[in-house]
Symmetry: C2
């Protein structure tokens, strides 16, 4: 209930007398307990709704008016049909929608949903093909109608990916009371809802602690519920190397925590397909040349300062260990392993990392010093050569390199204009990346790092907090402005952003609870953009109602998203706000 | 590996030459990868260990040399037998203990464990009877031997509760590699390990969000693993009233979130029995006279300022609502409902709460003002009368009242000398409670509040942090000193302490991950006391190895305790510390 609505109802009531006043007071109570906006997340960029209840026919069907419809679209349609009846989500109002029962008895019935492609359907690509296209050329828009008279709803789009986004929205329109599945704000009209930014991501670090494939799939389910488009898989790091790379089996055989903590090639393809079918592109990262200590378990010849002590002198965290970037053998080895894995992936993006390079590691490494001397290069020059080798390998596969911000801002590395730079150290650094004319993705630690604020994990400092305190609340993430400090000509360089889970203190046990619903915050920022469909700016006050809703829906689907408030508040829109 | 041990081995190696040096270097590596202390949590107050591997016989048996052994002891023995083979926990070293395989082939075999009561066994009480005795008269001590020659291990105690504590320790001695279950530091000798403090608790708020019985039982399992003795069940509050009270069914019928979110009388007895059989006493709290808004759903006549707006004027959090403490009808109603539930519980402790009373709520309540006027009492005098009524009801049941610190430090309430006061606002306030000669339990928000640091949950403040920032890390909790600022004559007033989970942002989804292994920190402080068995002070550096161990064991048992560090660190004792 918006504040002005309460206000006008109050005036209305104040001017009535007698029985009408009692009736109107009841009306006020009813209105106050009904949120005005449909609880969609991210909220469509255009949205019109009414006040009519429409119930779903028990023989509800979805017609796919797409010739030679791809299998992943048909599967998505099948999942939607199942989910509509399986969600069993009661409205987040007192009584959970039981008060709708009487009105539902007479409500019009929705029998059908039709999906159609606005462009010629003969050559329809799969959702996965559309989702893994070049980041600049994806088509995710869709339109949706659900009439107040029931009958037939429609979703139209110019791609199967757009149809899938529309199905995701459609599922979120429905609630259940008793055995009735229904929408309570028909008619619903959404016209060309398409994302403000194409890169809407979530990053998971599977090296510091391992996550079974089932955890990743469940995470992809949650991501697709909020229309995220990129799974940034930070798959390896210094702690473990859980990835099987064709031709390099020794990397995971010796570098994984155990044989049970490895992603096989089949696992990788399984994850990539599962993601693709849900509109998600997998951006894999093999972080180089730093964060590679685990490679020393199988290839000590390529790693400088492996597990050197004290680790503080050689790395930002234990264990130390970096690829010998000045060695052409090591550069070729790295390019080869990147090629071997990248060519198995459909994405056009691949990250070579590039963060937190420790100079002292190389100063102390006799082999690196010898390599530098023989080539006559400085360390920075050698880093550039190393990067050209790894990026060259990606370009040979027609892929676009992704790097952490240091490669653009700290080092003297030549980056092609297509390179995507991930800003992580501070949100303030985006402007400097843009000033270099490079495309960027926001992943700032001061807004989007999900691990912050859980105490120091290094073992022997009883009073320390995490380096990126405080905890990044969903509200903090939600107030991020993707275009802050950029000129209008630079805004097109912003591909989007992602929230990130580094796994020093995370694992299978808390992945759901540390990520959800928080990571939905950026999903809305980068889909909906700066303004709600009514033209008002995004704001945490109105977002909370809808965020509760998607959180409760995630829980219904087995994703252990945490409570944002006591349930008392979740059922009473606005009553747990500060009075300001 | 302690620092001095590494040091002496290094000197030893430095003086060797040739093949012996190679051998000794290998030895160093092996030693460095083996923690010296058994990974027991809490660590026994007396502990001697050796270096011999002893494996468990596949026909291992436990003999209970106790006449008429109570059923809950026999059940505990049965669980231990199952758990020894079910834990399948590998040692937290590189290789997870696979290197022990060769030595194990020749290792002596442990065939039997015998349990005996040192006092006459004829009248053995059940574990539950012992665990629910008056807090000052419980007997939890035990002795344990496990010979390096295998054969028979022993646990002796003067109560079944002590035997149960011994079984808990015994289970933690064992690791698994392949199909072999074994202890690696026999002989083990523990002589009269008994707790420094009897009250070692964990508090759960089941009102702000609801937890199914299965969550509570799993929490009790985890609590018993670290020898916690008190489950403080903050069962009701302003948000919901999930407790069925005999004779007052309307309280939960109308005050619970839903009919599915109620603890029935059978559930309560189930929880109390489950806890008792695991050495845990259930201290139930019905918070009064504040934090009672939910009672207004069934008894509006007893509640002042129910859900009054703006809530900030009437309560510390929404919704407002407090028992009309100046009304004798309300006082009697409250005493009656406390009697009705307390008499179904075996514990001698029961909490009437008493925190965060809002004066303005009563100033604005016409009924309370009328009641005060007619009785001629001040609000403080009326509070005292109210408290005498509720505490009188408890004393009539031979139970001891427990209150939050405000009742002792803020209000003019007469408290009997047996009253137990819970210190929560600040650890600094313990001294003031002790100065009044009252017994106390530590639950300070600046050390033990598990909810702190997760952002503001009130809805419309994007930048706010939680009121009790920062996050209370396990390290912070572990550095708590129960006797700080107390005179030696006051130390006997300290019954112990507890870590607490308030559930504004918690629920079934994150109970395990937000509580464990953090809540094990205070379990050791209050069992082991200030010093480790070797006489050195408790310290986070040596604790971490053992805390990892109990965390990994919890995970094996289905408790989703979170990672404290990357697994790389968990397997390499001390290598992820700061070099200081």
């Amino acid at each position: 209930m918006t504040r002005w609505a309460t206000y006008y109802v109050a005036i209305f009531v104040a001017h009535l007398q007698g029985p009408m006043k009692v009736f109107a007071t009841l009306l006020t109570v009813i209105l106050v307990s009904s949120p005005c906006a449909l609880a969609l997340w991210p909220i469509p960029r255009s949205l019109k709704t009414g006040t009519t209840l429409v119930k779903l026919s028990s023989s509800f069907s979805i017609d796919v008016s797409v010739e030679n419809a791809p299998q992943d679209l048909l599967n998505a349609v099948s999942r939607t049909k199942t989910q509509l009846f399986a969600d069993k989500l009661g409205r987040l109002v007192v009584g959970r929608g039981a008060n709708d029962t009487t009105a539902l008895a007479q409500a019009p019935v929705l029998n059908k949903l039709t999906l159609s492609l606005s462009s010629g359907a003969a050559s329809a690509k799969s959702i996965m093909q559309e989702a893994t296209k070049d980041i600049a050329s994806r088509s995710e828009g869709y339109s949706l109608t659900l009439p107040a008279t029931g009958g037939t709803a429609t979703i139209s789009a110019s791609s199967t990916l757009g149809l899938f986004r529309g199905l995701t929205t459609f599922e979120q329109l429905f609630y259940t009371t008793g055995d009735t599945v229904y929408v309570f704000q028909a008619p619903v009209t959404i016209t060309n809802d398409s994302p403000a930014f194409p890169f809407r991501g979530f990053m998971l670090d599977t090296s510091r602690n391992f996550y079974p494939v089932a955890d990743i799939k469940r995470t992809l389910d949650a991501m697709s519920m909020v229309k995220l488009s990129q799974f940034h898989w930070h798959v390896t790091d210094s702690q473990s190397f859980p990835l099987t790379i064709p031709g390099f089996p020794e990397l995971s055989q010796k570098g994984a925590y155990s044989s049970a903590e490895i992603y096989s090639s089949d696992d990788v393809q399984d994850i990539v397909s599962y993601a693709g079918a849900r509109g998600i592109d997998v951006l894999m990262e093999i972080d180089t040349p730093g964060h590679t200590s685990a490679i020393s378990t199988s290839h000590p010849e390529h790693i400088a300062c492996a597990a050197a002590a004290p680790w503080e002198n050689f790395a930002n965290e234990p264990p130390a260990g970096q690829l010998r970037l000045a060695s052409s053998a090591t550069a070729n080895f790295t390019a080869n392993l990147i090629t071997a894995i990248a060519k198995t992936l459909p994405s056009t993006l691949f990250s070579t990392g590039g963060d937190e390079l420790n100079t002292n590691c190389y100063t102390q490494d006799a082999q690196t010093q010898k390599d530098l001397k023989s080539s006559g290069k400085t360390l920075e020059q050698a880093l550039n050569t190393f990067t050209q080798t790894t990026h060259g390998a990606l370009k040979a596969l027609d892929k676009t390199p992704v790097v952490w911000e240091e490669m653009a801002l700290v080092h003297n590395v030549t980056l092609s204009k297509s390179t995507v730079v991930m800003v992580w150290i501070s949100s303030q650094n985006a402007a400097a990346v843009a000033a270099k004319g490079l495309r960027l993705v926001h992943g700032p630690s001061d807004f989007f790092y999900l691990d912050c604020g859980a105490g120091e994990w290094i073992g022997n400092n009883p009073t320390a907090n995490s380096w990126c305190d405080p905890f990044k609340s969903w509200q903090k993430a939600y107030t991020f402005n993707p275009l802050a400090n950029l000129t209008s000509s630079q805004t097109s360089l912003v591909l989007g952003g992602e929230q990130l889970l580094w796994s020093e203190q995370a694992g299978s046990e808390n992945i759901d609870s540390i990520v959800w619903p928080r990571a939905a915050a950026s999903a809305e920022i980068f889909w909906t953009g700066a303004k709600l469909p009514d033209g008002t700016p995004l704001n945490v006050k109105s977002a909370l109602t809808r965020l509760h809703d998607i959180r409760y829906r995630m829980v219904q689907r087995g994703i252990k998203a945490i409570n944002l408030q006591p349930q008392w508040c979740a059922l009473r829109d606005g009553q747990c706000n500060f009075d300001n």
